[in-house]
Amino acid sequence: MSYLIKGARPYGEDAADILVEDGRIAAVGESLSAAGAEVVDGAGLVALPGLVDLHTHLREPGREDAETVETGSRAAALGGYTAVHAMANTDPVADTAGVVEQVWRLGRDAGLVDVVPVGAVTVGLRGERLAELGAMADSAARVRVFSDDGHCVSDPALMRRALEYVKALDGVVAQHAEEPRLTAGAQMHEGDRSARLGLTGWPAAAEEAIIARDVLLAGHVGARLHVCHVSTSGSVEILRWAKGRGVQVTAEVTPHHLLLTDECAESYDPVFKVNPPLRTDADVEALRVGLAEGVIDAVATDHAPHAVEDKETEWASARPGMLGLEQALSVVVATMVETGLLDWRGVADRMSARPAAIGRLDGHGRRLAPGEPANLLLLDPGTRAAVDPAALASRSRNSPYAGRELPGRVVATFLRGEATVLDGKATR
């Protein structure tokens, strides 16, 4: 199948035709024609490289009632993604070659995005001893990102060994930065609101202390470190300092931390419960600036589907996490593009090129240029619509954006030249 995309604007710049053939971008130029190619009207649409998510929870195996690799893949494609990293905190945990290969195959069978498994750093995410990182790296899944996400690798000696060990695998440890002794029972950002709402506070220092420790360790052993879901202004400062010193550290921020604050907790509606928690206006501002500056490298969704019974509860009993794949680009448009902090090339860099580089995904995050793999999306940036959780492709409904009007609609997504989304609908 070949596609001729007429009149879309690559990176939001001058309109051009894009010819997609044999999984690659065959040509970009004016007035292209191709016999037999399906024509896609791209007028008014922005063409961007397919997005890459470093942080997705697909829940399979173990919680297929909340999400499966297939439903999560469909949500990802609808959000403009062509590759997602599937986090390791499944049941069983993705801490062996067997489990990561299972997830990888499920993704390949679904065929909507490239599902790239993340391997657990420690056996069972227990933070006690290293999982067989080499076996996972050598498996068919070719794991390069290792994370105990949901748990912090809090033991400093173990963290040091993990950072050192993955150097041999060209891997990276993606740290969930949370000092567990400072967050026992924590429910929300610790500050004025937590004091009033009587919810146990999650201090910013619990994140910043781990990031500070880990950048020092990474610098000391010369390893790559990636910091998951950075949520505080202090974390941005530490990262800026570390990068200035040449530490090989990268970092991600979630769409929800770019948009929402702890004010959402006032309702006690656990759809807004997430870990790390929603922070203050000042943090949101610092994160946006950090992302614009490049101190924060990437936007990663931390897409965390949860079954209704895990969210329709009192706050303390609810599981933390929120959906993100289908609205991530819209949130970035609202918080970064419409505010003038990033242009479309910036969006492509933070949501495609840099995450692909961090995850060592050769076929993703490439330019929109002839000869490159045809992983791309078409976005209608002018549409604004209120988010309806019932209309989401995810199996879960815990979207924090329910009822909120957001800009931008993904009209089409192509994975290696095949349309996974056309006319805003998944093709399979």
Partner: protein, 307 residues
Amino acid sequence: MKRHLLESADLDRADATLVLDTAAQIDAALAGREVKKLPTLRGRTVVNLFFEDSTRTRISFELAAKRLSADVINFSAKGSSVSKGESLKDTALTLEAMGSDAIVVRHHASGAPHRLATWVRGSVVNAGDGTHEHPTQALLDAYTIRQRLGRLEGVRVAIVGDVLHSRVARSNVRLLATLGAEVTLVAPPTLLPVGVGSWPAEVSYDLDAVLPKADVVMMLRVQAERMNASFFPSAREYSRRYGLDARRMGALGDEAIVMHPGPMNRGMEIAAEVADSVRSTIVEQVGNGVSVRMAVLYLLLGGNEPA
């Protein structure tokens, strides 16, 4: 009045005063009577939904509802398989289907009554949620202060103890500020929440400096187990620095009163001779609790169509 009483902030000054005045009228109407029962809420059903043991609060609400002739159902979820939130919703819907007009809820999770209020049509009264609020306790405390001192405006109230974990403190700070009292929180810094600076209250770490200026000293229960998490080094040290003993009571002004929401740890935050002194309002608080809860139930339920 709003339909629910979930936190002190639900009451503006006029509403709070209405509750206290209504309680006073109910008190007066029932004083000296043989038949301490009013027909006001005949045919209404009040459910006491308690996920946490609290015999005294449950009995107080039960008596209040019964004195207004409501039918009362006590639903204790403690110890049953009901402990997770899905069940909170199911329980709420079940109770509603059975025709409850009001649910009085005590829950170990902050905000549980707020969630409940989104699921039911009847009124929800918060009888204590986690470390958040306990608004009827604050109302009965305000009622007791007004009864003893004749006013609330400008009254200086010291709230002493484990503010961090205290729903009584949160409710009192807000309500007393609404009613014009001046609140000072006294505690070791470890037992004050980060963010306490945004509350309408002064903060002090020094009980002896605060006592001579206080019209009311409200002692909070402090659990000795807190010392295991290093909130303070030992029960003895806590008691020495923040306990109200006979010597400290001597520093109080002539009219000053001593309050405690109960249950007390005698010898920990309060000495026995203080708890039993004429300054102590502890027994009155219990009796006033019934009148105030009658007023709340009347004001919330009296005018509404039954669910």
